[in-house]
Symmetry: C2
Subunit: 356 residues, 2 copies
Amino acid sequence: MAVLHHSLDFILSSPATDENLLVRSCPSKHSITQCCQSVLKKVHLSRGYEFIGIHFMFALLRVHSHGVVTIDLQCYQEDSIAEVDNLLNALEKKLKTLLNGNIKRIKRLPALIRGAEVDRYWPTSDGRLMEYDIDKVVYDEDSAYQKIQILHSKQYGNILVLNGDINLAESDLAYTKAIMGSGKENYAGKEVLILGGGDGGILAEVGQTKAKDDHHILVEDCVPVLKKYAQEGRTFDYVINDLTAVPISTEPEDSMWEFLRLILDLSIKVLHPSGKYFTQVSEVQNTHKKRLDFYFQQNVLLSSTGRQGNGVNMTDALTLYEEQLGKLSCPVGFSKEVVCVPSYLELWVFYTIWKK
Amino acid sequence: MAVLHHSLDFILSSPATDENLLVRSCPSKHSITQCCQSVLKKVHLSRGYEFIGIHFMFALLRVHSHGVVTIDLQCYQEDSIAEVDNLLNALEKKLKTLLNGNIKRIKRLPALIRGAEVDRYWPTSDGRLMEYDIDKVVYDEDSAYQKIQILHSKQYGNILVLNGDINLAESDLAYTKAIMGSGKENYAGKEVLILGGGDGGILAEVGQTKAKDDHHILVEDCVPVLKKYAQEGRTFDYVINDLTAVPISTEPEDSMWEFLRLILDLSIKVLHPSGKYFTQVSEVQNTHKKRLDFYFQQNVLLSSTGRQGNGVNMTDALTLYEEQLGKLSCPVGFSKEVVCVPSYLELWVFYTIWKK
């Protein structure tokens, strides 16, 4: 039974004073409705905030003296939607009267759904709150390597979530197109190496082109495989890095950036001189990595307050990434493209890298 | 000074009992940190919830006996981010110990920013909470007809918001392309009628085609103009309905649906027999309309908990719309397309309608 957390805020035109604001505690035995009604008749400001109601529901009216009045109302998913809506409407009406023209803005947000069986909140890479229309958990298992979830969204279809990070939804052909060069490449007769890509999206899409199709699927660590190819002098026309945002391990490297540089360096080594390397920047900063590690150790996955990739707003991380490109053993050039991947709810950056 | 509302929730593996849970009120003079520390040492469940701390910050720990523990922490934008983060980390750690293995999931959401100068929350049409990266109010005025806002988003550029409803952002060429037939139409030598489209996006894009370009811009009510064209027997190859989601007035019609049918009927009347009518379904239900009216009367615009258009999840509204198409004075056929408009943060439905 999820807790619905409603909020109703009044932004005042001028700071709150004893004369224009109210708050009073009330007996706990009253129902929330009676409670609000009785409380709101009394206009008195005590210490800037106070409890206003208790029953099954719970309401808190807080007056911030600089000029914001916040109302929090917690109820349960089982409670009557109409009753709660009426209560909020009544509260709003009452406060409008009490605040008597001193209102600059009123804001009522959709209720936060807390503790639901199916989690709907998956923040963006810059830590903004996004509520998905998840209606079903299709799959939820911890493998030896990753927490694997497939969640169903009404509009995006099935979404693959690895270690709490949204990877790809059925709606996201734009992702696959972008990481293959946005339709500007001719794959005919070309040799393609996909790193990661375990959801099969890129492989399926490459199969639609006239690329060489004698494909092998290797389920193993890509680092030794890349090292072997590099040693053999084997090259590819396209290397597509679609590794997960949160690597299973960065060992034996010391940091995420060193790990990232290792993958980049090896990828460029196996790239044909006229070839192209495509990637999105999904690297995590060390601090995030450690945080995730901690929760895995505890066997409880915390969804951190930002996703583990880099959207277009992560300008510092993108700059850092571009700095890494200057530190590779082979000089490279690069271009980038900003793409709207439907289920990501933020614009995403894709890089094309080539040997100079 | 915005209020930051943090939440930290523990979803328990089994219901909460006196033995495995805690709560205790504490003196108001304590700082929140001291408060939490002292409270969390005492393990006692009283009536299911209680206040745990007060100072400038405010924290509330609520134990829902069916198995959800919610922590709410309110602080201010000026407060030290590191201090608040440390406090939440400490709370989380402490509760992990206290709940001793009885945790199924932990969820910490990005803080809600309440009462900020610049509002960041613009819900989807199906009422889901979305936090935009708005960093500036470029324009904010009430005209005689509409509340007009131009907000700047870091990733979407300037966003036009009319009556609290996101209309179009600089990132949204996909919207304009979709409402012009998604590049499948040949505009060469064609006559085009745009209804609404006051942001100029469609006009600019039509200008890129070889459509007849002796354009006239009429700033007036489209209903009498359409009636005049119909009377004159004037027709257009393309009629593009880009009217705002919230009409200034639906008079003299009784309801939104009748108003919508009037516009549709007139548009089809001025459509060439082989022409096409493009639209997105942005009609509001009567209840919403009345609600908005109420707030306009009060001169305080409330952002309702859903935007005033129909995303792909609004299946009932879309079905109702399609039913209206069967009630027109001229029989029509239609097709629809689902498009990702970047700044909408939900998939959007576009219709193509033609005379049978």
